[in-house]
Point group: C2
Chain length 282, copies 2
Amino acid sequence: MTSTQQASEFDRGIALAARAGEPGCYEGSLDPGWQIAGGINGGLLLATIGNALRDTFSAHEHPDPLAVSAFYLSASRPGAATVRTEVLRRGRSMSTGTASLLQVADGAEVERIRATATYGDLGGLPADVHSAPEAPNLPPPERCVPSDLAPEDFRSMASILDRLDLRLDPDCVGWALGEPSGRGMLQGWLRLADGREPDPLMLLLAVDALPPVTFDLGVMGWTPTLELTAYVRAVPAPGWLRVRISTSHFAGGFLEEDAEVWDSTGRLVAQSRQLARAALAR
Amino acid sequence: MTSTQQASEFDRGIALAARAGEPGCYEGSLDPGWQIAGGINGGLLLATIGNALRDTFSAHEHPDPLAVSAFYLSASRPGAATVRTEVLRRGRSMSTGTASLLQVADGAEVERIRATATYGDLGGLPADVHSAPEAPNLPPPERCVPSDLAPEDFRSMASILDRLDLRLDPDCVGWALGEPSGRGMLQGWLRLADGREPDPLMLLLAVDALPPVTFDLGVMGWTPTLELTAYVRAVPAPGWLRVRISTSHFAGGFLEEDAEVWDSTGRLVAQSRQLARAALAR
């Protein structure tokens, strides 16, 4: 699984090696540097699975994720992991397959994530844009709020923050001061801290890299993802991404969280929606 | 696979029989009465798969779909079909599994749809609502536009229209007169034509039952679904549903289509997003 950017923290984080003699089976180690609240960040896991599928489908000239849906079955831990892929359909312009991320726990293999994905060639799509949501108008990164201003007890549970350069819109960080806006929206600038440029796999991280949108509703606990579907719509240009997450329906202990990601040229490059579980605000 | 409403067209449409001696395997016949453009409607297929998973998970007291993601691999045809389910995880409050819908074509078994789903008990969720999108303010059904006013050549390709009582907001049907609004939004009232009341499985049909949202953008061709994820958020009350579909990003020959469904009390009961392929407008 070669990479032109193998030296970056992200590429090391999603690195896998093909298991000899077992086509579609990959082995790696989940890096403790991408943790959040004791587990590995869901976006990094999605990109890891995406990396296995990229290898599986590259032989068919379908290297890019178009749609990826992942069900999170149990919390992934730092350490050895196996990804098994299976091709369901090989088409002319797209291929679809499944991937399963597994870890050994208490001596038994446990499935952490089951994903299904359709891959294609983003570079080969027509350039026409009929309609597109506008990128948010944010203050420049140097006037936004860096995540290294987060309280130490929060940062100590989120080693992922050291891998990201995240600058939140100052208008969206009232929750950090005990004054959540109640709108259910967070937005900001995002890039990898070591300067590794975005690509389609990095977008799978970007859609699940911000703090939970529930923080903006005054609900400060963790919100585990049940299911997340990401659509990658274009190859991102180099530079800062803009990411906006929002929720419209928080009821019965569940909420949906939508993410939109724009590249430095203002082009929408990824969309996602997840269903997450959360305690209701008191 | 018993049903309290077995006599309805919808329940006959999604009916399956457990195959003897093969747990998790079901057989049925896709009814030509749910066709659209030569294939079976994607929502009816989702409800059929949902019915198989309901049977599989009912033994664990998780009868209701919470999240269902389906990848459409090839177009389903009227006639015999097999659904095979597999349980991935049995939890205390939720279970997750996969389902595959297969048909025999040219002597070989072909996979039509691969779905993954998490089931639970919607009736057992806390009643708290923190935030919820408001139901659209529509003219009463008798002042909306029934689908039996559609042109005959359109109706002849869409037998599903005879199973539905769909009344579109008059403000959203300009496309039928050659004057699409360009907003990328359709909304209206929906119920089953034979009076069968909505339930969680019927919501899986409802999220994919309206004409393609691209009609409102002046693109009148069919838009095959690559992937659709539905979240069922509550058990719907009896009566009319309100359904709104919209798109924000149509580029490179793909668009996302979001659906929201409210029940007769104005409660949001389902959300979905799909990635579909479409020719761009000329």
